[in-house]
């Protein structure tokens, strides 16, 4: 659906050149929810804005739904933008327009006749759950409601792609959850491809099929979200994973440990977890679970446990060998 080929954006500023995006190539499939994470200043927004040419890349190719956007004339580009919705952290609603008028503006921009706008706006407000707020002004709405209006506006012209720039970063955790649920619904029911930029790994974990980690304008790692969580390759990715899956043990506890410290990681299905109890029965070792969690990465469980094996050295070794045989990722720490 979206192909970026060696996209670069260099800003000419008074104090010299600033690299916003540095030769990024990405493919985002149709119907996918794709996440881009990175710290502030990594170039996420710039990259996202290159997808609908809000920012014209210095070099590279941007292909959305088979159309090479950089080859379009300004009028054609406007038409192309109608099938790429975008929402922002700051909502950016027109404060002098009602909720209804804000959404209707997107339709007007696409040349939809006035008589046909009303029905579509009401349909969109229904979709985002704001039917009763049509005549309110943005200042009368909460952050979550404002984001819903901006989602309705972005979806007005039946886009194929929805770009989200930190769409939940200004919202509290429970509102974030409800907006993510709405995005999930939009993705599943309308089949819209979604690209989400965020610095919150929770968001990625919740809805992204695949994700990329950015730093200094470059994509440092990319892959299915589950793989990124279960097997991060770059230190930066690990940093982000740790915000959700952190297994630091207190030093005091570490000092008091006599046995072997083992970190087990598996797709947290019950069959696999049974491996641990099997092991404890088969060998004369004791296992103390010190830390552990089953996290759901877009519905797929990922279990991580840290346990201490206590017992005779030889028995410990045998138990460990057994674990290594049955569990994918075992690590002595």
């Amino acid at each position: 659906m979206i192909t970026l080929e060696k996209v670069a954006k260099i800003y000419e500023t008074k104090s010299g050149q600033v690299v916003g995006v540095d030769n990024v190539s990405l493919t985002i499939n149709k119907g996918e929810v794709y996440g881009i994470v990175g710290y502030s200043g990594a170039g996420k927004s710039t990259l996202l804005r290159c997808i609908n040419i809000l920012e014209r890349p210095t070099s590279g190719k941007v292909i959305v739904d088979g159309v090479d956007l950089l080859k379009l004339k300004s009028k054609q580009l406007r038409v192309a933008r109608q099938s790429i919705g975008m929402i922002f952290q700051g909502f950016y609603l027109v404060s002098s327009k009602t909720v209804f008028e804000n959404v209707a503006f997107a339709l007007k921009a696409a040349g939809v006749e006035k008589t046909k706008r009303k029905e579509r706006v009401l349909e969109l407000l229904e979709l985002v759950g704001l039917s009763d707020k049509a005549d309110h002004y943005p200042t009368q709405l909460s952050g979550g409601q404002k984001q819903r209006v901006s989602i309705a506006r972005a979806l007005a012209n039946n886009p194929k792609v929805l770009l989200c720039d930190e769409a939940t970063s200004a919202l509290d955790p429970s509102t974030t959850k409800s907006i993510l649920a709405l995005l999930k619904k939009i993705n599943l029911e309308l089949g819209i491809t979604i690209v989400i930029i965020t610095h919150e790994m929770e968001v990625v974990k919740e809805i992204c099929d695949r994700c990329a980690v950015m730093q200094d304008g470059k994509v440092v790692e990319e892959g299915p979200t589950y793989d990124m969580f279960s097997n991060p390759k770059e230190p930066l990715t690990l940093d982000f994973i740790k915000t959700v899956l952190d297994f630091e043990l207190p030093q005091k506890l570490l000092d008091s440990i006599s046995g072997t410290l083992v970190r087990l990681q598996f797709r947290g299905e019950l069959a696999e977890e049974a491996v641990v109890s099997d092991m404890l029965q088969k060998f004369s070792v004791k296992g103390n679970i010190l830390h552990g969690k089953v996290e759901y990465i877009k519905e797929t469980p990922l279990g991580i446990f840290i346990m201490e094996l206590v017992g005779e050295k030889t028995e410990q070794e045998k138990a460990l060998a057994y674990l290594k045989d049955r569990v994918k990722q075992v690590e002595v720490i």
């Binding site: 406007r78 919705g85 975008m86 700051g90 027109v94 404060s95 503006f105 007007k108």
Partner: protein, 221 residues
């Protein structure tokens, strides 16, 4: 004595008042029709906006600054031949409104530009992202969003023009300023002087009040 001299002055005061209104009104109208579009041009051609065009921005900006840097009293004299050319006279409120208009255009253009800048860039960007045309963004986003600013800017322009109109009066433009100069200055008539000042104060207060009222009533935020 005081009251009777005011009463005897009334017909002339009345005429002068309407002459002032006429000059200022024409100036304001021109400010709206020419100054506002120029202000919008200054805004939308700025860096990072949807009609970014440095050459236009710089050229228009320079012309605007050029006119604004000339003190009004000098502009007034400087424009006399031009006024004579288009109206065939340099006397009367209509003639005075030419220089008032020329001064009002860049004055209001800068105010419009500044008011438009107050709009969150993200709001403009969101409109660009839904594929709106430049004209539609100007008409449906910038105008309604900056309307309160545009109106209070018009109030400021009106009040400045009332001040300028008094200067225009001194070179035969008529109006309240003319009255003040003729009676108050040349004939040392304190009563007339005092009365014109009162009239001007009342006029300015009234304009400010009406301007604020309208700006407030169009502000839906």
């Amino acid at each position: 004595m005081y009251l009777s001299s005011i009463v005897s002055l009334l017909p002339e005061l009345n005429e002068a008042f309407f002459e002032t209104l006429l000059m200022v009104g024409i100036g304001l109208l021109v400010a709206l029709v020419v100054g506002m579009p120029l202000g919008i041009v200054l805004y939308v051609t700025d860096r990072g906006l949807f009609l970014e065009k440095q050459t236009v921005k710089v050229v228009v900006g320079m012309i605007v600054n050029l006119i604004r840097s000339i003190p009004f009293i000098i502009l007034l004299v400087f424009l006399l031949p031009f006024t004579d050319f288009i109206l065939g006279t340099t006397i009367g409120p209509l003639a005075a409104s030419v220089s008032l208009s020329v001064a009002a255009i860049p004055f209001y253009a800068r105010i419009v530009e500044a008011a438009a800048r107050e709009i969150d860039r993200g709001v403009i960007e969101a409109a660009v992202a839904v594929g709106a045309s430049p004209w539609m963004i100007i008409k449906d986003i910038i105008l309604p969003e900056a309307k309160p600013g545009f109106i209070s800017g018009l109030t400021i322009t009106a009040i400045s023009l009332i001040g300028y109109s008094a200067m225009a009066g001194t070179v035969g433009g008529g109006g309240i300023g003319d009255l003040a100069i003729r009676y108050g200055y040349y004939r040392y008539d304190d009563t007339v002087m005092f009365t014109t000042v009162i009239v001007l104060i009342v006029l300015v207060q009234l304009v400010q009040y009406i301007g604020d009222f309208i700006a407030k009533s169009v502000n839906k935020r």
